[in-house]
């Protein structure tokens, strides 16, 4: 009943896991020679090696800048990917280690170069990695031991946030071009009963507003007796602005005095 889009199982590979975090490769191509990304006839050797080889460092290399993420990973797609529930846990050599190495998170600049298809796949790679980290975290809390490298969670969260930002940017641009609408969710400026102006965002209802009892109890207008209080509010707002300005000037003057005195001494 509730459908979910998921492109391919490619995202589940161990290389996908390395790709998710590692953006700047730290070692030379010596590690990657076991899994060359550009040749398709390496599939046979890949399948044997994928089960044993656990790349820890980044596989996104400078020589693959021209090819997209999808093309690179298509070359080593292993149809024998049957890990299933094992993907909720880290790779077996990492169990019991005090620290696990991981690369830098994805930056917005790097993500903007990727196609929408690649971003979609990357989202699910990051999702699986986060599930794994949450599992490890919960188990560590249960066993009362320290979780190895908890900073990985933060990195994943930041990467996902940035990915979301870029997808939103693209959606905004598309919508502006196609319809001219600046916002996805319609809204309007309204005054509440205290005289404050705010951006009211519309909500979808199955019935019109004049039949909605709870909505009619909300008052989006200000009555005349509130005017004096609005005036007081404006006055206090202006007063606080003036005070802030004065405080800034005072601070500046003090610093000037302090450092001019120092420079005079030397």
């Amino acid at each position: 009943m509730l459908g979910m889009m998921y492109c391919s199982k490619m995202a589940a590979t161990s290389t996908g896991r390395a790709l998710s975090l590692c953006r700047q490769f730290q070692k030379s191509l010596s590690i990657s020679t076991a899994l060359p990304l550009q040749h398709t006839n390496v599939l046979t050797s890949c399948k044997a090696q994928l089960s044993t080889f656990r790349p820890k460092f980044c596989l996104l290399h400078i020589n693959n800048v021209g090819t997209s993420l999808a093309q690179q990973c298509r070359a080593l797609h292993a149809s024998q990917w049957r890990r299933g529930l094992e993907e909720f846990f880290d790779e077996t050599p990492n169990w019991g280690e005090p620290t696990v190495k991981s690369g830098a998170p994805w930056t917005a600049k790097q993500l903007r170069t990727k196609s929408s298809e690649d971003l979609h796949k990357l989202w699910y790679v990051l999702l699986k990695e986060k599930n794994m980290l949450l599992t490890v975290e919960q188990e560590a809390k249960r066993q009362r031991v320290q979780m190895p490298s908890p900073e990985r969670l933060k990195k994943i969260e930041r990467s996902m946030k940035r990915l979301d930002t870029i997808v939103q940017e693209r959606e905004n641009a598309l919508r502006l071009l196609q319809t001219g609408q600046e916002r996805a969710r319609p809204g309007t400026w309204r005054k509440d009963f205290l005289g404050r102006t705010f951006w009211y965002r519309f909500k979808e209802y199955p019935i019109p507003w004049y039949l909605n009892r709870r909505y009619k109890r909300k008052r989006f207008f200000t009555q005349i007796f509130v005017d004096s209080f609005i005036r007081l509010r404006i006055e206090s707002h202006l007063h606080s602005k003036i005070l802030k300005k004065k405080a800034d000037l005072e601070n500046k003057r003090k610093l000037q005095e302090k450092f001019s005195r120092l420079s005079a001494r030397t």
Partner: protein, 153 residues
């Protein structure tokens, strides 16, 4: 589906709602009580349903799912902080997933005890040696044959 998203209203004849890039994260947990061998226990967000769990595992992890049962765990609001304000521990939903195709799952030992050999003369080795000596000192005299200190002599 996703968390903290307003779903559009559904009326008969509307197209199937599709949410790309789901926001749900599932945590596999070790069951506190003994579960049957084909049951896997997860902590899931409150907004997730049984159908969501089934689709999630089948599509993203390609795990054959038989049945899913969920319950909501209420966590205490009784604890108080240093300002004697009540602090709520967040509630969570637990899903018990039974695998199809007669598959079994056993929660593994993620933090096995690794016996690391310390290099001679290092700080860790001395600390370890000290702890072992302390434990030896705390142990009762084996000549007493398990009789406690309470009995004199």
């Amino acid at each position: 589906m996703a968390r903290r998203v307003i779903y559009p209203l559904y009326q008969l004849g509307n197209p199937q709602l599709r949410i790309f890039r789901t926001n749900f994260f599932m945590t596999l947990v070790k069951p506190g009580k003994e579960q049957p061998p084909d049951t896997v226990q997860f902590r899931i967000p409150m907004e997730m349903t049984k159908c969501d769990v089934k689709n999630y595992l089948e599509k993203i992890y390609s795990v054959p799912v038989g049945a899913v049962r969920t319950r909501i765990q209420y966590c205490t609001n009784k604890k108080r902080n240093h300002l004697s304000q009540r602090v709520k521990r967040p509630d969570y939903k637990v899903a018990y997933v039974q695998l199809a195709q007669q598959q079994t799952f056993q929660f593994p030992e993620i933090f096995p005890q690794k016996d690391t050999a310390y290099e001679p003369g290092s700080v860790e080795e001395m600390q370890d040696q000290f702890m072992q000596d302390e434990q030896q000192r705390q142990k009762a005299d084996p000549r007493r044959g398990g009789v406690t200190e309470w009995f004199g002599l």
